[in-house]
Structures are given as structure tokens and as C-alpha cells.
Symmetry: C2
């Protein structure tokens, strides 16, 4: 009998669920993250999507061995259970009135799910992203590495001395909230001068104004619009300085960069951030590599699954690379 | 027969060597760090001080089992051997012509010493400081902690998930060189806006000008001198923001602060940095404790020794606390 695992990716924009067996993905569903309702809205949505994904894959929920959940953070451990306290999902934490359509301050994610689902593990999405990229992607065999997702927000996950670091609440290394400036643009968390507030996709769009998205700004950049050029160069400069600070603290060998902002614009961004890193204190930065992450659009799914995979499964997937073929994704309205 | 260990502390200002047995310290010598000569000046000085310390303690060099060396960084591992590349010792790295009386770019510390001495281990001074404070001091039993030395420079060492982090060259977490400002005062490494360049003892003295030391500035602070007050408040604010960034990346439980600048002025500095930490993104900073380190003037010695101590020795020292009674320190001219 085949064994099944489930991978969940909770982002501020989308939630993705996939069911997999040792041969590859069986089914995959995606839905916009519902941020309207009470504090259980997101956990209930996760259960609903897992149920739909099981139906699509022809798998009984009770036949799923384990569930790995990769989620935007930060977290707080309450009595050992992970609560979600993300300013990009919880309106009560964002520090800016009316930015999100709810006033949540915490989501009791683990407590609600663990009573209702097969055994599960939860980790920060960039932490599990680092795990997935080290298992199957750009970081194979590297003992000191950092995965950075450069997307709507900015998240980081890291191995140091071969150990996937977690910290007291599972938030290490929460690179989006390091200080780079005294003052500067406001971050989603309400503070000014954070890496995420200066360089994230949201920050890039907002800098241009007029309801622009990061995608709009990069389109204008490619047309030579001087304001877009300045905004992108500033964002890349702060991002590179952020990497230099993260490297100072983690003494890493390799940065793997993923996330939509980077993936769609690596041709522009990679040379800019490499230049910034090369210009920083050379005793620390010499020889540090910066490369694109390689698992692409399935990284979130594999990140979740990587939390609960056995050795035999890891070997099989490393050989078959099921993310290359992929799977039909059903978008749930 | 008694077993002997030797602890060495290499700082930019002083080198200290102590010989110890399971009952406590036997002898201790201290000399200003010699920064004049060729690249072997410091390793040769270490050997000379170990020899003198052995004589003083009535111990034969060949009877020393192991040597633990706690040194200012950063390091670079060349063929597995640690080289010292500290801009506070190596004039060729400082980025400011004539700041130091030599043009060294690297000191082949481990390679030179390992052929000439009993078996030895080398670690960054704040990393081994974290180890010592967790073994015997303010961090007993804590799995996520950061030791920060606030002295001529600023150094950091950390346990994450119960593991003393090291990184590819043994530099993690090199907190003195994280960016806090775009621009600002120049750090010893030549870059601007680093924590060490903004808040170290050297930075505090230099901000006041006229060849002042940090000690001078704190004396003026206590007399109510408005410029000294502003300089100290700025340094403390940046230091607190630095701790918040380090906490964002390491998700720690406890900061233990030592070093001469802090130890002599904890009454002024501790409230200021606590206030800064409390004002930062609360989901990450809530519940993080900031306390003074407790091993005081023997921290460097114990840091070195902690690298090479056995379990039985650790238990004996934890009980006897030989640093309380101390030992006569012979100052070598």
C-alpha cells in the first residue's frame, strides 16, 4: 500500500496544499488566504483545503501519515504549541490601522489543527524552504547556508554547522526584521528601517505609489523609467546589505534566493546584490556564494513535505525530481 | 598527579595567560598586545607568555594537557587552520592608513602554535565567552543565549537550540559588523554604519574627540556634560537596536552583556538598552532577558579554559568557583 504525506504552505497571499506519495505529487490545490473572520479562519481554511485535496487525489484523510506545514511567521510557542503572529496576516499586529481586514493578534494554529488532523509538524516557511533546498535543490551537501525568500515579504532560513536553526519560538533566522536604517520606510510590523520594509515586494510597489505592485515597478524598470530604476537599485542595495549582516551573524557559505520578486527579476537583481556583498567587509564576505534557489513554484509544497519525509522517501524524490514534471494545480475560488 | 590546562585570551589591547588545575588558578600573566614587528609577533608573544606563566606556576610546559585560546576575530580557516584577520590587530585590514603600527593582513595563529605547544583549541573570544558564561555564569541551563562583549570592540557568541554556533570560519555570530545605518561613523574594518563603529568603546571615545577614551566620556556623562550624554545615549540606542537585530536572527532567550564599557557603566547602559529592546517588534522581542555577565575579569581566562575542560573539571569548578577568589596577576612589561 502506498503511504501518503501532505504538504501545506501558508502564505500571506495564498495557501497551497499538496498530497504526495513516494513517486511524486498526486494532487494540489491553491486558494487566496482568507483574512476575513475570526482567529480560526486560517486553520479552518487549511483543513478545508486538505479535505478538498484528498478528494482530488483519491486519498482518504485517515490514510495520510503525516502533514508538514510551512507557514509565514513569526511564531510564538505557547505551552509548546505554535501560534502564528504574522503582521502580514494578523491585522491587530500590523501597526497600521486598516491595513488588513481583521484585528487578529494571534492564530492558535497548532492547537486547533493537531486535534483534527493526522500528526503534523509546523515550521517557518523560509526555514523549511532552507531544508527543502538543502535536501533537493541548490544547497545539497552544504553545512552553512541561508535560504532567502524575496517575495511580498522577506523570509530567511538557515543551516549553521549542519544544523537547521530554530530558536526559542522557531523564528530563527527572521531576517526580514533586522534594522538597516534609523528611520526609512515602515515595515509591515510597524517599525521603520527593517530589511522587509525597505526591500520586499510590498515595499517596492508602495515606493512607486499609485497602487503599484512590484511587478509594475520592474516592468517600468525594464522600460528605463528613472524612478523605477532608483527604487529597484535602492531595494537591491538594502537587500545586499541585509545579506552582509546575515552573513556577519551566521558566517555562511551560500545564499540561495527564491521568491517571486527575485525569481522574476534575477537578471536585474543578482548582479546588484552580488556587488553589494562584494563591497562589504571582505574578511567576512570573501567566497560567500549567492545563487538562485532551484525548486521554483513547488518550493512551498516541498518545504512542507520536507518536514515529515523519511530517508527512503528523500532518496526516491532526489532521484525522480517530481517537481520537474509537476502536477495539475486546482485553484479554489 | 595534578593535570594542568592553560587558558589564553588574545585581545586587541592585552594578552592574558593563565595556568589552572582542577582546584583553581595557579598563575596568571598579562601583557599589552605587541602590534609591532612581523606577522608572527602575536603567536611568538603567546608562546613567551605561556612559558613565563608556567615558570610562575611551577609547571612544566610538557605537563600541560591542553591549551584553550580565546581570541579576538574574525578568523579565516586556511586548510583547516585558523588564521587571525582582525582589523583591530592587523593594520593592513583596518581600512584606515596608519591606524595601527603594522601592515599585517593575517596572522597564521594555529599553524605556528600547533607545532610548538601542547594540543590546542582556538575560538573567537565572544564565542568562548558564551561557552564560559553558560558553563559557570549567567547562562546556566539556557539553550538559546547570546553573550555580548562591549569593550574596545563589540563581539558576540551564541548558543542556538543548545548548540554553540561556529559557522564556516568560526566567526558566527560576528555581531560587531552588522549594518545599522547607511553611512555614520567608520568602523575599525573601514565600513560605515556597523554596530562596532557606532557603539564600541573606541567609537564612544572618538565621538567626543580630543583623544578621549570611553572612560573619559562616561566620567563627563556622570558630571552631566550634555555632549557626553548625547554620545552615550546614541551608542546605547544603536547597541539596543543591534541586540534587536541579533534577536531577530537568533530568536534568543537571554543576552548576557560583559566587557569593560558595559561592566563599568551598567547602571547607565542597562536601562537604556532594555528600553530600546522593549520598543522593538514585540512578537520577536517579548520576554527576551538582558542581564550582566557574571564572570567578570576572569571571563577571558575561563573562556579559553572552557574550550578544553573535561566534565569532571567543569563540575569541580562549578562547585568551587575559583574566579571568586582569583589569583595574583603578574603584569609583564
Amino acid at each position: 500500500m502506498l503511504r501518503y504525506l501532505c504538504g501545506v504552505d501558508i502564505g500571506a497571499t495564498n495557501i497551497t496544499v499538496s498530497i504526495a506519495d513516494i513517486n511524486g505529487f498526486r494532487s494540489r490545490v491553491l486558494q487566496l488566504t482568507n483574512r476575513i473572520g475570526d482567529e480560526l479562519t486560517v486553520p479552518k481554511q487549511v483543513i478545508s483545503l486538505i479535505t478538498i485535496c484528498c478528494e482530488r487525489g483519491g486519498v482518504d484523510l485517515s490514510d495520510i501519515e503525516r502533514i508538514g506545514i510551512s507557514s509565514a511567521g513569526p511564531f510564538r510557542r505557547i505551552d509548546g504549541m505554535i501560534e502564528l503572529e504574522s503582521p502580514n496576516i494578523c491585522g491587530g499586529l500590523s501597526g497600521v490601522e486598516g491595513r488588513l481586514p481583521n484585528d487578529w493578534r494571534r492564530i492558535p494554529l497548532e492547537r486547533y489543527l493537531e486535534d483534527r488532523l493526522p500528526p503534523l509538524k509546523i515550521a517557518n516557511d523560509a526555514v523549511s524552504g532552507a531544508k527543502a533546498e538543502r535536501m533537493f535543490g541548490a544547497g545539497k551537501g552544504v553545512n552553512n547556508l541561508v535560504y532567502v525568500t524575496w517575495s511580498t515579504g522577506i523570509g530567511t532560513g538557515a543551516y549553521v554547522d549542519g544544523h537547521l536553526i530554530s530558536g526559542k519560538n522557531g523564528n530563527a533566522p527572521h531576517g526580514g526584521h533586522i534594522h538597516l536604517l534609523d528611520g526609512g520606510a515602515r515595515c509591515g510590523c510597524g517599525e521603520r528601517g527593517h530589511l522587509e520594509g525597505l526591500s520586499s515586494g510590498m515595499a517596492i510597489g508602495r515606493s512607486y505609489g499609485g497602487g503599484s505592485t512590484a511587478e509594475d515597478v520592474f516592468r517600468m524598470y525594464r522600460r528605463g523609467d528613472p524612478e523605477a530604476v532608483e527604487i529597484v537599485h535602492d531595494a537591491a542595495r538594502h537587500f545586499g546589505r541585509g545579506l552582509a549582516s546575515i552573513n556577519a551573524l551566521l558566517d555562511t557559505e551560500l545564499f540561495m534566493i527564491g521568491g517571486s520578486v527575485f525569481q522574476n527579476n534575477a537578471d536585474i537583481l543578482l548582479p546588484l546584490i552580488k556587488k553589494e556583498m562584494e563591497g562589504s567587509f571582505s574578511v567576512l564576505s570573501d567566497g560567500v556564494e549567492i545563487v538562485p534557489a532551484v525548486l521554483g513554484r513547488y518550493l512551498g509544497d516541498i518545504a512542507g513535505l520536507s518536514l515529515v519525509m523519511d530517508e527512503d522517501w528523500i532518496e526516491a524524490w532526489a532521484e525522480k525530481e517530481p517537481w520537474v514534471q509537476g502536477v495539475e494545480t486546482v485553484i479554489i475560488e
